[in-house]
Symmetry: C2
Subunit: 151 residues, 2 copies
């Protein structure tokens, strides 16, 4: 099913890349998340990739539970690829990639907005303890501290 | 230098993947960002990849301006790979990948904390207009609206 690309890597970021680290996977997600695409032909037109590669990537997304294949009501032999909740949850990854590109490679054609008020959406870190939205320089990683079991 | 992996894709997320979409690139960044690694041998030990592949990825990171190669003071023929500001700015991408993996693939071994108070760090969307931190379902993409030039 999914190739073990990052053998021996237990970290959550590495395991996420097992699922979406193959070329085109994140751009298929972008199209599904923010353009609302569900049809094979829409993804193909947007990405301009070979049909066999796209078919394989969609198959892998379904196997990973990121999308589900749903028969279209009008054409019983056609399928639509619909994001699951697990797939919807990739929005922060795509927004973070976009923000980096906008800043360092020049503004791209898309911006993210708040559906209810139309305001521009940014992405921030937030500290659950002191309530600050710290800059990246104040964010560090540590080994997760599991709470001891209750007796 | 960098391969054009996503030919014809002008979006900022796609162009970011041109820079860090090759296998291992984001995990090298993770090690540099959150483990403070700068030496070839530390990356190699952490990732367990072939020396020629790691050398190529570091070379590409330097060419892209994400890292700079600095001679070590103690060994004049050795180099350290130090993140630039452009590289430091990948923290939100790595944190977003980790959050997805923690939620959908099981908790990984690392968590992110606020350096100044030790609190757990989360990542949120924030609306510049209404001040809300909206859920992903309320975030949508639109074509960027450039302000007209001033006369």
């Amino acid at each position: 099913m999914l190739g073990r690309l990052y053998e021996g890597q237990e970290c959550a970021a590495a395991r996420t890349l097992e699922v979406v680290g193959e070329r085109w996977s994140l751009l298929i997600l972008r199209d599904a998340l923010f353009r609302g695409y569900t049809h094979f032909s829409d993804f193909q037109k947007s990405l301009g990739i070979a049909a066999n590669i796209l078919a394989r990537r969609l198959e892998v997304s379904v196997a990973a539970g990121i999308m589900k294949a749903v028969p279209t009501s009008s054409h019983p032999n056609h399928w639509e690829y619909v994001l699951t909740e697990k797939g919807q949850d990739f929005k922060p990854v795509v927004v973070a990639l976009t923000a980096w590109g906008d800043k360092w490679l020049g503004l791209g054609p898309a911006e993210y907005v708040h559906e209810t008020c139309g305001g521009i959406i940014g992405q921030h870190f937030h500290c659950a303890q002191c309530g600050a939205d710290p800059p990246p320089a104040e964010v560090r990683a540590q080994r997760r501290q599991f709470s001891p079991r209750r007796p």
